[in-house]
Each structure stands twice: as C-alpha cells, then as structure tokens.
Symmetry: C2
C-alpha cells in the first residue's frame, strides 16, 4: 500500500498567495460564516486565521472574505463570490492534478517494496 | 508574476518512501560518487544522508545506492541501475506534473492581483 501526497502552492511577489491551508480556511469560513469558528475548527489561532484572510484579500483582485459588523448574529464573515470562485477553481485544479499524478507515478510506485 | 510550487511525495507503510529530498540526494550521489560529498553539496549532515539512503534502500525492491569499500579512491558510493531508473521515472513524472499543473491553474492565477 502506498499513498501520494501532493502540495500545490501559488506564490506572487508578496510570498505565498494561495495553497492548501488558505483553501481549507476559506472553505471553513464558508461553512461556519465566522472566522473565529473556522479557525477553531482547524485548531488554528484567531490571529493566524486573520493573517491568512488579510493575505488572501490583499493577494487577489478583490477581497475573498468580508466581515459583517453587528446584526442579530453579532457579526460574522462571508466568503465573497470571488472567494467561492477561487475555492472552486483550486479544488477542481487540485483534484485533476491528483488524478494526473497518480497515473504518472504508476511505474515508479511499482518499484516500491 | 507568480510561481507554482509543487511537492509530490510517495508514502508506504513505513512512512515517506520517496520525494524531492531523496531525489536530490540520489542525484547528488550519482554526480559525486560519494555519500559524504553529496551530503556536503546539499548542506546536509552525513548522518541525515545515510538515514535517507537506508530508508530508500529499504523502501524499494532492491537497493538504490551501494557503497564500495576500499580501492584506490578509498571507497565511495554508487547509484544502482534501479536507483537510476527510480530517479529518471521521478524526474519525468514530476516534470509532466508541473506542466499539467501550470495549465490547470491558469484560471485561478488570472484572479491574483
């Protein structure tokens, strides 16, 4: 039995622009509607989650996450249309990459004990 | 400007079987004919290089690196035929994966600032 682990990260001049960590956080914010709840679900500090959100918002053409102040739920966070598009494109591209890579590594894997 | 960084690692039951670090070491051993010279060229400790060589040799169907004792050059190390095949298959598969991934991520990258 073997597994293939693939990590794909996009970098721009400012550094790491998008990758598996930011994708997971974005997905959790979409699910929970809150940065603190998303961070908690990943065992990540609130500060770290905010740093990643700020980096994502600065790295793309417009914000991927916006926060709502006040209201009956006492605020919260929302993934924007662009954020959902980024997440969907990333998930689709990584899934296709995983499939392609598992085909490409068949010969090498056959040489493992 | 952006870059895509991809890391592909193969795991078996014993753990990490092959990836970019082992491939680079194997390549350096083939180049220098010596584990210590290969380790030095990578800024890696001799012990760490040996640990990786032992893990590689145990993880594949036969050894990828063999050592030669004595002789006029005072020993040295050689990458076996299987080792060269593993290295070549890994390099080919990762290059194809890089090309495929750069195509798959065009849409997402176009959304970066």
């Amino acid at each position: 039995m073997y597994t293939i682990k693939t990590k794909i990260q996009l970098f721009n001049e400012a550094g790491n622009a998008f990758g598996p960590g930011k994708a997971q956080l974005l997905n959790a914010i979409a699910e929970f509607g809150s940065i603190s709840a998303a961070a908690k679900s990943m065992g990540m500090s609130y500060k770290r989650a905010w740093d990643l959100v700020n980096a994502m918002n600065a790295g793309f053409q417009s914000a991927l996450v916006v926060t709502k102040i006040g209201g009956s739920q006492g605020g919260g966070a929302e993934v924007t249309e662009l954020g959902l598009k980024v997440l969907s494109l990333y998930q689709e591209a990584t899934q296709k990459a995983d499939t392609f890579i598992s085909e490409q590594f068949v010969d090498l894997i056959s040489l493992l004990k």
